[in-house]
Amino acid sequence: MAERMIHELDWLNDPVVESDVEVNQNVIVGKLPAVVRKLFQWGQGQSVWPMLFGIACCAIEMMAAGGSRFDIARFGSEAMRASPRQADLMIVAGTVNEKMAVVVRRLYDQMAEPKFVIAMGACASNGGPYWDTYNVVDGVHKVVPVDVYVPGCPPRPEALLQALMEIQEMLKTGKRGLVTKG
């Protein structure tokens, strides 16, 4: 059963992870002088536009982050784009099942570089409470490369905001991976 599932999702595993290092370096950094590059990266970091795309319960907490108390606009990310072509960041907020995995992958492919993915909540990180079932993909990293995982079921909006700050840090330094310490 498990083997068949992996095989079915096999075509989704195009070598995105291998190729994106070079591509991203080019797109983020380019061949600009150091000062301009810094300014450019700072600007890019302050205007991460997420994709307006909620799947399950975590989407409500994502909306809470966009609401009046937590106000994601403080971080320059209030412009939730409905089109993947205009988005920099995909927040996978909720349980991804087999039917949805194909859609998530297609949306990811449609986004322009540089693009980032936050796996919000336990379900997107590893299946969460539904890891044991026949229809749920255990972790969205099986479908798209994930930059930041946010634990919680659902995570508080503050946790999402911290994940966003990690993404900003990645854009500002031009490097993927864990940037902030502690």
């Binding site: 399950a56 409500i60 809470a64 609401g67 009046s68 099942n97 039917k99 409470p129 539904y130 659902p154």
Partner: protein
């Protein structure tokens, strides 16, 4: 006359106003919808199958995640089913806490339903105001249950913990205590929030033009399609399980059932929801009075660690925030349920979409989906 060719478009599963991952196939003649069909299953999480491998207590957090906007009502429905199966008597104080929480949750859920509908129709302000007040309920719930959105607060036979000290407050608490005491919130809600909703949107002419006359639902069609909750009541049918088939202790409370007119349209469904919030606030006030007068700490009976209900089956009807939640529970005498069937109102309401949508413009589709207020987590389970 020249005829344009019909155009088949996909709305969703990633669409800003499908309330999650609904995909609607729409056939368009120009801009008019001629045919619409929802495609579901993008959030099927195997709740019913998964429940069979859990103990009865372990199922409760999963019921939270079916209709994640009104978690307490789902927990309440499931606990009622198990209690009926086992013949457990719930302490009176726990009953009042449950009802109070469920009604606060109903307010919370309707606020998001209305706010999201306003957002979809272009009124972003409504969405932000809804969130401002939802956060206040969240703060109260966080103090009571420990969770913001999904609580796992109700237990079979009672509730997990008593209300924390000082959360009830006094009837004089005003707006400054809105996120500290429940009385403060209710007073703030009744004196400030509800008039604001009326001013902002219900009596807003642009909003009325946008929603009045859109997707009228005759009452006989609503009944034939098994609609329930606000959608049914907006069509003029006075049917509320809390009044008609009272469960828990709802027969002790005074409240009215708001109904719409004979052909309830999107605006009627909106108005019914706003009125329902008002009635919920009334129930919460009565429950608060009782809780303040009858302090105590008996909130859950002593039960064995592993519950093994006797063989048999039970069906519970529950007036959830979106309509009639049904729990069909079959027990084979072991520690795990043999079968949990969840009747979801959203699933039933979604089948109204092919009836309501044809003949309207594509932009009205947004209003229709917003007004039937579906939660895809409950549709797919």
């Amino acid at each position: 006359m020249e005829q344009t060719r019909e155009l088949l478009i996909n709305m969703g599963p990633q669409h800003p106003s499908t309330h999650g991952v609904l995909r609607v196939l729409v056939k368009l003649d120009g801009e008019t919808i001629t045919w619409a069909e929802p495609d579901i299953g993008y959030l099927h999480r195997c709740f019913e199958k998964l429940s069979e491998s859990k103990t009865y207590t372990q199922v409760i957090p999963y019921t939270d995640r079916t209709d994640y906007l009104s978690a307490i009502t789902n927990e309440h429905a499931f606990c009622l089913a198990v209690e009926k199966l086992m013949g457990i008597e719930v302490p009176e104080r726990a009953e009042y806490i449950r009802v109070m929480m469920a009604e606060l949750q109903r307010i919370c859920s309707h606020l998001l339903g209305l706010g999201a509908m306003a957002l979809d129709l272009g009124a972003v302000t409504g969405f932000l105001y809804a969130w401002r007040d939802r956060e206040k309920i969240y703060s109260l719930f966080e103090r009571i249950t420990g969770g913001r959105m999904l609580y796992n607060y109700l237990r079979i036979g009672g509730v997990r913990n008593d209300l924390p000290e000082g959360i009830i407050g006094t009837p004089k608490d005003g707006r400054d205590k809105a996120d500290k005491t429940i009385w403060g919130f209710i007073n703030y809600f009744e004196s400030y929030v509800l008039p604001e909703w009326d001013d902002l949107l219900t009596n807003n002419r642009i909003f009325q033009w946008r929603t009045q006359g859109v997707a009228p639902l005759p009452s006989e069609v609503a009944i034939a399609y098994g609609a329930s909750g606000p959608v049914l009541r907006a069509s003029g049918v006075k049917w509320d399980l809390r009044k008609n088939v009272p469960y828990s202790i709802y027969d002790r409370f005074e409240f009215d059932i708001p109904v719409g007119k004979e052909n309830g349209d999107c605006f009627d469904r909106w108005v019914v929801r706003v009125e329902e919030m008002r009635q919920s606030a009334r129930i919460v006030k009565q429950a608060l009075q009782w809780l303040a007068e009858n302090p105590g700490d008996y909130i859950a009976p002593k039960l064995p660690r592993v519950l093994k209900p006797p063989k048999g089956e039970v069906y519970i009807r529950y007036e959830g925030s979106r309509g009639e939640v049904g729990v069909h529970l079959v027990s084979d005498g072991s520690a795990n349920p043999y079968k949990v069937k969840w009747r979801s109102p959203c699933f039933t309401h979604l089948q109204l979409l092919p009836v309501l949508a044809p003949g309207h413009k594509l932009a009205d589709m947004i209003a229709i989906i917003g007004s039937i207020d579906i939660v895809l987590g409950e549709v797919d389970r």
